[in-house]
């Protein structure tokens, strides 16, 4: 293991901005996609009784 302490880990050898910036944005975007997937399913279920997409009433 490369880390002597927890703060050593977070400092990331001086590259904290780059490493944690990468991981944080990736995690955030994946969380956002999961939320959007859940919302889309909820909307699709709500509208499932109505007419199909693209079919004009």
């Amino acid at each position: 293991m490369s880390w002597a302490s927890a703060s050593d880990f977070f400092v990331m050898g001086g590259y904290a901005l780059y490493v944690w910036g990468s991981y944080a944005v990736t995690a955030g975007l994946i969380a956002l996609e999961v939320i959007m997937l859940i919302l889309r399913r909820r909307n699709a279920l709500k509208g499932a009784g109505g007419p199909a997409a693209g079919v004009r009433p």
């Binding site: 590259y15 780059y18 990468s22 944005v25 990736t26 999961v34 997937l37 889309r40 509208g47």
Partner: protein
């Protein structure tokens, strides 16, 4: 129109090309892929941060590799799969194939953006710049625009079958960009390093680094499958609403 058939081993595989058959099947598969993604991601991060050593040249900055490379692989691979389903949809006129292509695009765009973002954050400390207009970076940016273009084109056309076909043609034309991305580091002079992992030569990195990267790549695969299956189920509901089977399915599982 008569039902197409493709019988291999006593199973008519086109049966699964019907949204009605595929919908519950996809629903049953999602938890498995989602859990596999979570477990592989935790394992990959553990290996990446606590087992893999510090890089001699790049220090800790190299640890961006555990997302950058899997994301870049996924960005290209999802596009190829998307173009494959688009081609199948154009050839056999199967609705589900087009829906699958549509479902893959947002996840592909996500990984393309992640590859570009982490590349910029890796480039600054190692190359001294966030961005260069070289072949690898530019062709990956074009890939992002292809995903956006595919989604925007489909969204712009009201009639679903026409939107399917227009999107499919764009996806198939854009697939020419994939070998350009992959071979760009060989074909042109670039700041971007060549492939660290290839089928023809030994990997140029420590075994534990490679293990962390491959675990994260597998996690990205599992996540992408789960996300695409989840999205395609919503697309099926949106497009098939009003049909008897959707109404019945909602009565059983509201």
């Amino acid at each position: 129109m008569s039902q197409p058939t493709l019988v291999i081993g006593n199973i008519n595989w086109f049966r699964y090309a019907s949204p009605q058959t595929f919908y519950p099947l996809a629903g049953a598969m999602i938890p498995w892929f989602a859990w596999a993604a979570a477990v592989l991601c935790v394992a990959g991060l553990y290996v990446g941060f606590f087992v893999a050593p510090t890089d001699q040249q790049q220090g800790e900055a190299y640890r961006i590799i555990f997302i950058h490379v899997p994301a870049a692989w996924m960005s290209m691979f999802i596009y190829v799969v998307m173009a494959f389903w688009a081609g199948v949809g154009l050839t056999f006129n199967t609705r589900l194939s087009h829906m699958m292509a549509t479902a893959l695009a947002p996840t592909g765009a996500l990984f393309t953006f992640v590859a570009l973002w982490t590349g910029a954050l890796w480039g600054k400390p190692t190359w001294g710049t966030w961005w260069v207009w070289d072949a690898r970076l530019t062709s990956e940016l074009i890939l992002l625009f292809l995903y956006f273009g595919f989604t925007a084109l489909q969204a712009a056309i009201d009639e679903p079958r026409r939107a399917d076909r227009a999107g499919a043609v764009l996806a198939l034309v854009g697939v020419v960009n994939i070998p350009i991305i992959y071979y760009s580091v060989k074909w042109w002079n670039t700041l971007h390093q060549g492939a660290s992992v290839s089928l023809t030569s030994a990997p140029t990195m420590a075994a534990t680094m490679l293990a962390g990267m491959l675990l994260m790549a597998l996690a990205a695969w599992m996540y992408s499958i789960a996300a695409a299956l989840h999205r395609v189920r919503s697309i099926i509901l949106e497009r098939e609403r009003g049909t008897d089977w959707v109404a019945q399915d909602l009565e059983v599982r509201p």
